[in-house]
Structure formats: C-alpha cells, structure tokens
C-alpha cells in the first residue's frame, strides 16, 4: 500500500539524521572518500526531509490536475491521471476567485497600511516624547496583547453587527487598524536612533514631524519593512474573524471561500484543490521577493543577541 511506503520513508529519515545531529560547517575530516560519503549522506537526508514538506504540495497538484473519478478508480497514484490543464481557469471562474482575491488584497492593504501608520505614530510618542500617564498608556498597549481575537470574538461581532458592518470592508478591517506588536517593534527601532542625530536635528530646527519623516523613519527602515511584511502576511492569512463576520459569500476573503469549494462533491474535488493552489500563489511570489524582511521579522525576539 502506498501509505506504508511513505511511513517507511519517515522512519528512515529519522534514524538516518539522528546519526548526524549537530554537524556544523567547517568540520575537518580526514580522507577525501569519507568526506564524499558524508556529503552524499547529507544530500540523502536533506532530500528525504524535503519530502515531508513537498509531498503534500505535490499530491495537491496531482489531485488538482487529475480528472477526479478516473484518478480515484486508478487507485490514487502519486502522478496525475487524465490531466485537465484548464482546471486552474475553471476553478478561477467557478470560485469567482478574481473577486475574492481582490477582497483579500484590498482588506490586507488597508490593514497593513493603517497598522504601519498608527504604529509609527504611537511608537514615536513612546520613544521620543514625555507626557503624563505614559506608563499607564504603555501598560494598556501591553494589555491588548493578552486579548487575542479568539477571546474578543463574540463582543466584537456584536459591535460590528450593531454598526451595520457585517459583510463590509469596515467590518473586515476596522478592528485591526492598530496593533501593539507593531508599536513595540518600531519603538524599539526608534530607541536605537543615536542621541547625536536627535540633537543635530534639533539644532537644525527640525520639528517632530520633520524629525520623524526625515531622520527616524529612514534610520529604522529595516525594522519598519520587516513589520510591514509580517503585518501584511497576518492580515492576508486571517481566518476566524472574516469567517465570522462575512455571513454572505459575496464579501468572503479568498481564505474563507476555500472551505465551501473544497467541501463540494467528490467529483469536483479538483476545483477546491486548484483553488487552494491559486490562493497560495500571490503570497508565495511576494515572500520570495521579501524573503529577507520576512526572516528578520519572524526571528525578532526569538534569538538573543
């Protein structure tokens, strides 16, 4: 059976790589042959581990391309059967993917843009200005981190409903126009702005706005860019909130439309899988472009030093 085979692969992977744990670059080893053997072993392990990641994606592609019923009666092989090349355009029109991708894009741009703006402004106040109740307000920002959307889901849905914002861009975006995480990240960046720079700017007669725009933001660009990527990604991937407040499919984001498409009849299961691949594509392309910012953003706070 095909499943037993892949379970086997997984076990071999694990035993093989435990032998090699902790191998570091630049380890001198005697003998060219031993080194070559080690190299070959390393590639073998890497290839096997890649299967864990790639196999589910490959099978999704196979499933999307294959005619559903012939594929099932052929015993679900690991290669496509009766390839239907037009499946992506069919899924695109069938799922009205253009519309839902557009809704996702607009929602994401509003949220990420607004989060960037509100976070930069708030971070500036915390980093450079003195004012009464600073600690209290800072604590209030921290407190918001303890209230994820899962906890506030019910009352926020009530608020959005009473504002008449169900199935609207306001409903999708307004609760997320500010974020404490962004504020803290950018504040941290601002605090790194050298004091000499601030003094020089003040001597040059820079007001707060000029200092923010011409000194603080340019100097902290890497941090701001990382946060922008994270914020964009988080907004694009949202599920629970849009699922709750888009009660009609017409305002569903692309993430939300995938479930009904995938749960359709078995002879249309290729539509749902193709739709999932279409939904993944734009973000994959963006991440390839913004890889560096993403990695920096994701590892912020995780690694010391």
């Amino acid at each position: 059976m095909a499943t037993a085979e892949s379970v086997d692969t997984v076990t071999t992977v694990q035993t093989a790589s435990t032998l090699d744990l902790g191998a570091a670059p630049h380890m001198a080893r005697p003998g060219q042959r031993a080194r070559n053997l080690r190299k070959a072993g390393a590639y073998l392990i890497l290839a096997a581990l890649s299967l864990i990641i790639l196999f589910p994606i490959w099978m999704t592609l196979v499933r999307a391309l294959s005619a559903p019923l012939p594929y099932i009666s052929a015993g679900q092989p690991v290669y496509p059967i009766q390839i239907e090349w037009d499946i992506f355009s069919r899924a695109f029109s069938r799922g009205d993917m253009g519309r839902h991708l557009m809704i996702s894009a607009v929602m994401t741009l509003i949220i990420a843009g607004a989060q960037l703006a509100t976070s930069i402004l708030a971070a500036y106040a915390f980093a450079f200005l003195r004012f009464p109740l600073k600690n209290v307000i800072f604590a209030a920002f921290i407190a918001t981190l303890m209230l994820p959307i899962e906890v506030t889901l019910i009352p926020n849905t009530e608020t959005i409903r009473s504002l008449g914002w169900l199935n609207s861009f306001q409903g999708l975006t307004v609760p997320f126009l500010a974020t404490a995480i962004g504020t803290f990240l950018i504040r941290q960046g601002f605090m790194g702005v050298h004091k000499d720079l601030r003094d020089a700017a003040r001597l040059d007669g820079f007001g707060n706005l000029a200092f923010l725009w011409r000194v603080a933001i340019p100097v902290t660009k890497p941090v701001i860019a990382s946060f922008a990527v994270i914020s964009f990604l988080a907004a694009w991937n949202q599920y629970l909130w849009p699922r709750t407040i888009t009660t009609e499919n017409s305002m569903a984001t692309v993430q939300i439309i995938l479930r009904p498409l995938a749960a359709a009849a078995i002879n249309e299961i290729n539509i749902g899988t193709a739709a999932a691949l279409i939904a993944a594509l734009p973000i994959l392309i963006l991440l390839i472009i913004f890889q560096r910012q993403l990695v920096r953003g994701l590892t912020a706070g995780a690694v010391k030093g």
């Binding site: 744990l21 099978m59 509100t118 708030a122 200005l129 906890v151 009530e158 608020t159 709750t244 690694v303």
Partner: protein
C-alpha cells in the same frame, strides 16, 4: 523646557497615540467589558432579550461538561502539535545548517510552508486525509472519521503548516552559535550526538522556550484547521475551545455561554503561557551577556 513647551509635547503625544487608543478602546477594552456583561446574562432564543444571572453562569459553564471537554480537546491538540512540531523543526534546521552546494535550495523548501495560510494548509490536508478519497484517508492513527484519532489528523495539518516558521527560527538560533564553540567541543573529543545535546541544545534553549510558548498559543487558538477538516466532528471529538466559542457565538441563545467560555480560554492561555515561561525559563541558558 518651559511649561508651554511641555504642554505642547504632551498634546502632540496624545494626538499621535489617539488612533491606536480609539481602536484599542472599542475592540479590546469595551470588548472585554461587553464580554463580562454578556457572560452574566442569559439570552432568549432570538437574542432579543436577556436576563441577568450574574456569576452563576460563570460557575455553571466553567464547571460544566462542555467547557471541560473543549479544554481537554484543546490540550490534546497542544500535546499532539507542539512536541512533534518542535522536534521536526529542529531536525530540519540541523540538517540544513551546513555548508553544502545547493543548501539554499533545501533551506527555501523547508521554509516554504510559511507561504501557506492556515486555510490553504487545511485544504491540502482535507484532501490528503479525506476518509473517502484521501491518499492517507485510511491511516489508523490519524483517521479523521474515527472520534479517537481525528484530533491527531487535524494536528498533522498544524504541524506541517508551522514547520516553515519553526525551521526559520531554529535555523536563525543555530546560526547565532559561534563555530568556535562547536570546534572546541570537537577538539575535546565530543562526538556529533554528545556535541548536539551538550553544546548546541543548551545554547538553543532561549529559542526553544520562545517556540514552545508560541506554538502552544497557536495550538490553543487553532480554528481554521478544525473548521475545514472536521467541523468539530466526528461526534464533537475535535471541538476545541475556540471552535466551541465560535459555534456558541453563532447561536443567539448561547451567546452568554460562549462569552464565559471565551473568558475561560483567556485564563487558560494566560496560565499555560506564564507557566511554561516560568517553568522552562529556569532551565534556559542565556549565556553571559
């Protein structure tokens, strides 16, 4: 600075903070207040009227069978996703942390699941694990049609989706370890396995602590996986706390009960995250800096 200047500085600060504070005020603090109020009221069937029941509803819901089963399912979800995800992530990172021709290709592959949203990953596994037509539909340990194993099937999807993130963070942690330390250990006669457990892993412990807490919080908040893969079934065996909150929130008569459950989730998350942090922090090696 004179008084006037100080006042202006304060006013500027408040103006800069105002946009964030308005959003937080409505969608966090007012929401928290409404959450407690809703939790103290019992709604009628259409949600048009409510009756004050006070903290009785808290004791009833939080002590009740439904909350307990949701909590237990959420805890199982944590137990099936966090250790497996962490071990696999470390495995990938250790394997990909070396100088080798083409290593960048493998690193990109390992990191690639960050590009999949939770919905996309769930659809991928919805098809893969589908009891009728899934390639892995009949594997017993992760069978979505069996109430005893469905939660593990849902967990597989989470583990896979989070691998990219775990890999990126562990790899960054490994890259921060100076090569000289590992070379010194080798000179001292440490084999690869002892070197990993005695040198690499202790130096990696702050990263691991961070990941344990983050992955646990992710698991406690998981929703899309359940919504797409099982809809809470079979027989309610995958109804995590968040899924129950979502479902109760959809039923006007149960909004108050859902609100109480959300408060329960809040405290569970808080206690688990703080507990892990203090427990594990004692064993974390932060270095001399």
């Amino acid at each position: 600075m004179n008084r006037n200047g100080r006042l202006r500085e304060a006013l500027t600060a408040y103006a800069l903070l105002a946009p964030s504070l308005v959003v937080f005020g409505v969608f966090f603090f007012y929401a928290l207040y409404r959450l407690v109020i809703l939790g103290m009221n019992q709604q009628n069937r259409t949600g048009t009227a409510q009756r004050w029941v006070g903290f009785d509803q808290f004791t009833e819901v939080l002590g009740g069978e439904e909350f307990r089963s949701g909590l237990w399912i959420s805890i199982q979800y944590v137990l099936w996703t966090v250790p497996a995800g962490l071990i696999l992530g470390v495995l990938l990172a250790v394997a990909a942390h070396r100088q080798l021709k083409g290593i960048r290709f493998f690193q990109t592959v390992f990191a690639s699941t960050v590009a999949t949203s939770v919905a996309v990953a769930s659809v991928i596994f919805f098809v893969l694990l589908n009891p009728v037509v899934g390639y892995f539909g009949e594997v017993p340990f992760i069978n979505l049609a069996d109430p005893d194993s469905a939660i593990r099937g849902v967990a597989v999807s989470s583990v896979w989706q989070n691998l990219g993130l775990t890999f990126i963070i562990v790899l960054a942690g490994l890259q921060a370890i100076p090569d000289e330390l590992l070379e010194a250990a080798t000179v001292d006669g440490y084999g690869p396995i002892r070197r990993f457990f005695k040198v690499t892993l202790p130096l990696l412990s702050p990263t691991m602590l961070f990941l344990v807490v983050v992955l646990t919080v992710f698991a406690l908040q998981a929703f899309a996986q359940v919504d797409i893969l099982t809809q809470g079934g079979p027989a309610g065996s995958t109804e995590t706390l968040v899924f129950k909150i979502f479902r109760l929130g959809q039923e006007p008569v149960n909004v108050g009960r859902g609100a109480v459950m959300a408060i329960g989730l809040f405290f569970v998350t808080l206690v688990v995250a703080l507990g892990q942090f203090t427990l594990l922090n004692r064993r974390v090696h932060y270095g001399d800096r």
